[in-house]
Symmetry: C2
Subunit: 508 residues, 2 copies
């Protein structure tokens, strides 16, 4: 076994391997975790096959990424993945995603054709590695990065992006609302191997100096095109917040908590007009189609507290999002739907069921849900509870929440904590919804646990470095952790059930 | 509003208040969180009623606790709470627990009489404040403390106990297996206002120098009596692991992971005899009845990995635990049943349903369940997912799991993290199962969030100190957090949806 890793110090004994597809250039990365041998009671050894896991980390380079998809895009009409799928074509992107998921490319194509799954890839983001979002595939997670007026810089945001995907984020949203918003986005796109999402309204508002009254379709359209040209893969667009919904939200305990939703509500109230995102929706579709940018239809009226969950405002908007989904599909655009928010556990399933029905099975992408309002400082955990549940029920992607939610902008450690929390939730969902072979890695770590293969136990975890550090920390003063120890400080040697089990088997 | 707190620096603006019952000495503590006024748009103020929450922290004293229950116990026949309830008597303990739960004392009595709830209180632990465990009441959480051969001391364990109940543990288990096991337990009992549980088998094994073959009913019985005399409130007894179950567990991926279960399996295998815990069960019942110690029937065959969940071994033992429950009830003893372990989400409900059926609705007390095997370093979060779910389905008490699970003995910060994680899970369960008024505190914090009452947002959380610290940490360099700020660094002022909402309401 080598001591090195292609993933740096946080993932020891991991190497990058590739599986080639049938189409030119389809070369799909996996992270392979090498395992130690099992040492049997009689001293003989058995090899443990390495465990191959889904890999989001991208090429290991500091510079701009190679344009992996450039040859595929060059040889193509301006059709979207949805249009290709409807026409029966399996694009290289679909084959790539199929290999990542260990499913047939035809299955990927059919799910996309039905609108039940998406491959969010802007033609202008050739660096990205194709991936699929849909409830019949592995549950994905998104990490939000981005500066605010109160802090952060381009190198810091690049670092957060790399950090997010190292820990396993499947997509990254750049939610910058601070300075150098354009340059930050450009830097992220040229260095990011996952799809990138944005909320163009933030930039549009910034262009008009934060004055909601100066927002207009023209400013917004120009912003869309600017970001489309840069290569953004999906746009959050809060086109479902209509004039008629605003009075419904006014009845709430805490009103509108979505930034995009509150901006549009204020615009409509001040102007007395319907939302330009709604009235110009087909114009937006044309832009989205031209780049194959995916709609992430924003839930501007998501509940911001338990008391506002599953109310008339939220479900009213959801109906509108369903209408817009059909309109986008008519234009050949891919669509996913954003969801809440703060929802107590017993109301989560209704969210999923209604979304599937009202939005015709377009993939659902939720923020949490958070299952209580009381967990500031622990909201990543709060979100993991709701996220695991809604993932099991059919949500396709979970937006991470960090421990800083409700309190401030996450730092690097918060990002790691948020990503890993949601990796756990997404994996729990995959196990529960029966994704084939999802349990293989669990079985491998449990076998390693039983055999006191500490290195393998660490390396198979979602966060090997933290597991090892905690193991080392819990040694008695003066003693040092030895990977050959056949017990831990939790029970000590005499009370170690694992040790007793081995005795039982040896004697039995 | 005062600046002081009866709960020390971690819970600002909290004071201890008492509600008196009708019976002498019934004086039930609550923690009351004082809130700031709401400042309206026109400058007028509205008072916000303080929020009263369940209080586990006990009297604020460094020394041994007063013997709150001594007068009640003195005037009493040697009947158990179960026997009193069956006879129609509402004991002071039942009234105390009823006030804590805001329910009628008759309801408490009837749930206990039916075996659906327990008040785990040894006659010899008069310092403890009565509390009830049952699925129609608030979901409870247990914190494990205790040393191992590899570390910790009496003062450290006392400190962990106080720390656990400060953060909200409802019961504490002393799982010491190291040195000074008797003295550690004595110190904890005399200073702990919550019920204390132990696993007497650990001490029995220690008495015979860790040699399983020297374990005997006599050694075990003497250990039970010794700990009963000290005042332990509930005993984990792995009497359900029978000879016939051992071969079933041998088929597993990782065998038996319960320490008690593996010790008894080894004893049975070595001796070729049935477990003395099973053959002497009625003798045990007589001891338990004499002190009103509650059975916590241990799940010695709980699954230690997903692959072993819901198997024949586990459910075989559960059936036996049901038989033993009826036997214990016949002797007037109170009973709860311990549960898993590692279980994927879709198999959790079967655990709850079978437990209710096979064990005749005796309260269920589970460790997790952990919903994946891959979360070492984050197992508190992993356990919170499964715990929230099984709590919603009807589990009465969650045993906490700390971030050190599978790796080592938790330190003080791990205990805090573990307790708070499970407070969140238990509260999420209470919201979902519809405990009356469970949402009041959520509504109060959301209102505070909407009104930028930062102090109240912190103080209403499960961990006010951490929330405040995270808020302060996320300020830009050179700026200091001011509780009057009407935004946070997550969005900055211009993009603050809460600020926009206020503008909307003011203008609307």
């Amino acid at each position: 076994m080598t001591q090195t890793s292609d993933y740096g110090p946080f993932f020891p004994h991991s190497r990058k391997v590739y599986v080639n597809g049938t189409q030119p250039g389809v070369r799909v990365p996996f992270r392979e975790i090498e395992l130690a041998h099992t040492i049997n009671h009689d001293g003989t050894e058995n090899r443990n096959a390495p465990i191959r896991v889904y890999d989001t980390a991208g090429p290991n380079t500091e510079g701009p990424l190679p344009a992996l998809r450039a040859p595929w895009i060059a040889g193509r009409n301006h059709a979207t993945q949805l249009e290709y799928a409807r026409a029966g074509t399996i694009t290289p992107e679909m084959e790539f995603a199929a290999i990542r998921e260990s499913v047939a490319p035809e299955f990927v194509r059919d799910e996309i054709a039905a609108g039940r799954a998406i491959i969010p890839l802007n033609r202008k983001h050739p660096e990205a590695e194709p991936m699929i979002i849909g409830r019949k595939f592995r549950t994905k997670i998104n990490a939000n990065i981005g500066n605010s007026a109160l802090g952060s810089s381009i190198p810091e945001e690049l670092e957060k992006m790399r950090w997010s995907i190292l820990w396993g984020a499947d997509t990254v949203m750049d939610l910058s609302t601070g300075k150098d918003i354009h340059e930050t986005r450009e830097a992220i796109l040229r260095h990011c191997p996952t799809p990138i999402g944005t909320v163009p309204l933030y930039r549009a508002l910034q262009k008009v100096d934060g004055d909601v009254n100066k927002l207009s379709w023209e400013v917004y359209r120009d912003t869309l095109i600017e970001q489309a040209e840069q290569g953004v893969d999906y746009f959050t667009i809060h086109a479902g917040v209509l004039k008629k919904h605003v009075p419904l939200a006014a009845k709430r305990l805490i009103g509108i908590v979505s930034r995009g939703g509150s901006i549009m509500a204020q615009w409509m109230q001040n102007k007395g007009q319907e939302s330009f995102l709604y009235t110009h929706f087909e114009d937006i579709c044309k832009i989205m189609q031209a780049y194959d940018i995916t709609f992430s239809l924003g839930d501007g009226l998501r509940p911001g507290c338990l008391a506002d969950a599953n109310d008339e405002a939220q479900f009213g908007e959801l109906k509108t999002l369903g209408e817009l989904t059909q309109l986008a599909w008519k234009h050949g655009c891919q669509v996913m739907i954003e969801g809440p928010g703060h929802v107590p556990m017993h109301l989560i399933k209704e969210n999923m069921d209604r979304q599937l029905e009202d939005c015709f099975e377009a993939p659902f992408y939720t923020l949490g849900p958070l299952v209580t309002d009381l967990a500031a400082g622990y909201d990543h955990l709060n979100s993991a509870i709701g996220g695991a549940l809604i993932g099991w029920y059919g949500c396709a992607m979970l937006c991470y929440v960090t421990p800083k939610e409700h309190l401030g902008l996450p730092n690097k450690e918060d990002v790691r904590e948020g990503v890993v929390a949601h990796k756990i939730a997404a994996h729990a969902a995959d196990l529960a919804k029966g994704i084939p072979n999802a349990q293989d890695r669990d079985n491998a770590i449990s076998k390693a646990r039983f055999e006191f293969r500490w290195e393998d136990q660490f390396n198979l975890c979602f966060d090997p470095e933290r597991a090892r550090r905690f193991r080392e920390q819990s040694m008695p003063p003066g003693e040092k952790f030895d990977v050959k120890q056949r017990y831990c400080s939790m029970c000590g040697e005499k009370f170690c059930s694992m040790r007793i089990n081995h005795d039982l088997r040896r004697e039995g």
